[in-house]
Amino acid sequence: MTEREPSSVDVLIASDRVPANAHPELLTEDAIWELLDKVLDPEVPAVSVVELGIVRSISWDGKHLSVDVTPTYSGCPATELIEELIAEALRAAGIRDPHINRVLTPAWTTDWITDEGREKLRVFGIAPPQGSASKMSLLGADEVVACPLCGSEHTERISEFGSTACKALYRCRDCLEPFDYFKCI
């Protein structure tokens, strides 16, 4: 009998298995944070879930791992996928049955996006959130958003919402390019 080529299903199953040579008990908390920092947001693949500030905390005793994750928006359709990607990355490192908790409080704010994350967003072509969410006014004036492509502050908002709930749509009046703005909440 000839050996069949491994199909994509086998690959999928294999990725769910804990590698035989893994020694998860040797992983430190820092090492786990580093692992998580490699998991990219599926909708904004320029930044990791750690840089976005949606991984809130981890608890690890060398055997059991629990990760607190908070959604960006109540209806964010990527929530389940992000949790699955995190679990997959942890299983691949040999951690069995990582427990992913979805926590709503304190509610996620763009203030938690790291400086590195902000810079990566900008390079990716998404203007990072401006200022602090706590200072946002209900019916106040718009914040000044710099164009991520040419840096001009001569920009205008086209729509309060962009390609996802977490973004708004802007246009640069100098280089004329439309761009997404990661809005401040």
Binding site: S159, L169, I185
Partner: protein
């Protein structure tokens, strides 16, 4: 009615109002007046469906009769739906869509702001998340009301007509019944008097800036959505919304 029953009903009101407005907005998918507006409407709808799910999940845990969030949403008939009549009204022209959104957003914003401090921790957590989204929605819909009201003769006429058309459904937003009173007493729901003041305060402020007139507070109002007595529209909304899960009850992949 026990406090527990009142709480379950109150959660269904919150969930159903979010859900039905979300469904109404989704009707505009593919036919909004401009692509930017379509993006915005669908994102508002998405926020609302996410919030609805949070409320349904909590309601399902309390009701504890084997139904989950999906079953509560997709397998209840119109007379068991507890949404505000406002949100089931048809989209009409864009002025009607935005006037309906604005009236709802003002109510939603102040309600979430109050629920953020509810004694029930689960409710406070869901509301703390929702209030950020509600703030953004209100910001957007109030801008539209002002732009249309203070815009051209045509846009002014249309948004004024929309205000006049929908005014009769606003009473239900701010008129408390026994469940609203029970929730306030339990340290959960907003103070009905305060909510009413806040709602009228903001609506009149924005209307003044938009050069629009609002109806009388004591005008005759349609009510009943919160206890399951709906306008003719809800049945048709549910027929479309619930068809798939009713036709294929065991489907797990869409």
């Amino acid at each position: 009615m026990t406090e527990q029953q009142a709480l379950q009903d109150y959660l269904l009101r919150l969930a159903d109002s979010d859900m039905i407005l979300s469904q109404r907005l989704c009707e505009l998918c593919g036919k909004a007046p401009a692509v930017e507006e379509e993006l915005a409407l669908m994102n508002v709808a998405l926020d609302l469906v996410g919030q609805a799910r949070n409320w349904y999940e909590y309601a399902a845990e309390l009701i504890d009769d084997g139904r989950d969030a999906d079953k509560l949403c997709f397998l209840r008939d119109a007379h068991n739906y507890r949404n505000l009549l406002m949100v089931e009204q048809p989209n009409g022209d864009y002025a009607v869509t935005m006037a309906r959104q604005f009236f709802f957003d003002v109510w939603h914003y102040f309600t979430m702001k109050s629920l953020e401090n509810a004694k029930d921790e689960r409710i406070a957590n869901i509301a703390a998340k929702a209030v950020k989204e509600a703030t953004y929605h209100l910001r957007r819909s109030s801008e539209w009301v002002k732009r249309m009201g203070d815009g051209t003769e045509e846009s002014h006429r249309r948004i004024q007509d929309a205000f006049d058309l929908l005014w009769r459904f606003t009473g239900e937003l701010v008129t408390p019944d026994d469940i609203d009173h029970a929730m306030f007493k339990a340290g959960i729901g907003p103070d009905p008097e305060q909510l009413k003041q806040d709602w009228f305060g903001m609506v009149r402020e924005v209307a003044a800036q938009a050069t629009l007139t609002t109806g009388a507070e004591d005008a005759w109002m349609y009510m009943g959505g919160k206890r399951g007595v709906h306008t003719e529209h809800l049945g048709l909304i549910l027929a479309e919304m619930q068809f798939l899960p009713r036709a294929y009850p065991d489907a797990t992949t869409w």
